[in-house]
Symmetry: C2
Subunit: 226 residues, 2 copies
DNA sequence: CCGTATCCAATAAGATACTG
DNA sequence: CAGTATCTTATTGGATACGG
């Protein structure tokens, strides 16, 4: 019985690969399993704890999360780090190479937003909404802007910096920002991506600038059902 | 029994989605299932028949291929087309929107080629090797080149056009090319990506230019095992 | 509270044989 | 050739219990 089990475990780890030299096939061997890319997304802006990942990845079960993290670590995409004594908690951190995949999976997200089946009213994590800004920002509309904006999304704080038509993201305490948005990721998405009125969320600082900022992220056009 | 079956089918089609507004999660709902991105890859350069797909996607089983094609069609990524009378065969063709995802999954492939675990000696399809050229071409090295090159990969012919640091690809009869490479995808990959000597493949036309062409596609550096 | 390990039921994938 | 049908195996997710 013990022997059977070992065999089974080895198989689930390694057997299900595409035996294909194509880089894409290898990419899918690395991060193609269910939830793997979403785990990587959650690590895009800094290390996270197991329980944060579990609660932000709505619907993943603890054992699957453990397995994905273990696999990603074995493959060199994620490192398990123990924070120094005052905190002493264990966190999972994307490696530099793992982070290189993030812009690619993010643009897959922009591509998929063109789908008629995409439902933007579903819940989303704070990483997702911040990443959507970074991915959807229009360099043309953002031209000439050089400002910092804060986001308080539940208990996660971000500072984003618009400059040169791009958006830099930091997880950091909110200070020295021109404006700050406060609300749940879904509420803020409704305002910025869905054009909902500002009165469902809280905005501090320069309200006029906040209104301008919120228009920098046009959604890609839906595909026509052909 | 009939009723049970209907219920089962509905569930397998729709139940396993990530309930997440994030674009990436939706992308995975669309093309995240096993084999789906590889099917899309095979359709990158033109429509293909069921049996071609089955034999080029080494290891896929007929029922899974059927299911993936059906799903991709329902989601608007693939169209089932019947060619006009002389041929009268049925082919699968990527939609315009489906093709938009191809550059993104191709760059995932370039990213994954940095993995220490990537094994370039495994078999690969003719689409894969052509796509690797398109993805890996170095604009700097290709500067000033404006030439057409042919590839005869088994019974698949391609003409690629290097210009302005890019590579355009057509599936077409080989004519008016400066050079033509003849061999299996794996053999040609060994020469171009692996630096193997030219004597394992056949090259026609301007051999000196062929040698220069073969150096335009540097592999990305491997990640160091940290 | 932070994870891990284990058991169980539901699905998805794989292998093979078969039909129009 | 283009798929179906059927059976077997593997993976997933949910619940629960366990160790630090």
């Amino acid at each position: 019985m013990q022997l059977e089990k070992v065999t089974k475990t080895r198989k689930s780890d390694e057997k299900r690969r595409y035996e294909d030299a194509c880089g894409l096939a290898h990419a899918l061997d690395l991060i193609g399993e269910r939830w793997a890319m979403l785990v990587l997304r959650e690590l895009a802006y800094g290390p996270r704890r197991f329980s944060e990942l579990r609660s932000d990845l709505q619907g993943i079960s603890a054992n699957v999360l453990t397995q994905r993290l273990t696999e990603l670590e074995a493959r060199g995409l994620v490192r398990k780090v123990k924070l120094p004594p005052p905190a002493s908690v264990q966190v999972y951190q994307a490696t530099e190479w793992g982070l290189e995949a993030v812009p690619m999976i993010a643009s897959l997200g922009r591509w998929a937003a063109r789908s008629p089946a995409h439902d933007p009213t579903l819940p989303m994590s704070h990483v997702s909404i911040i990443m959507s800004f970074q991915t959807l920002i229009s360099p043309a509309l953002a031209e000439g802007i050089d400002e910092r904006v804060g986001f308080r999304l539940g208990d996660a704080d971000y500072v984003v910096h618009v400059h040169d038509g791009r958006l830099d993201v930091m997880r950091a305490d909110i200070e020295n920002t021109r404006a700050t948005f406060i609300g749940s990721p879904t509420e803020i998405a409704a305002v910025v991506h869905g054009g909902a009125p500002f009165d469902t969320i809280k905005v501090e600082g320069d309200l006029e600038f906040a209104g301008r900022f919120a228009k920098l992220f046009p959604l890609p056009p839906k595909v026509d059902a052909s």
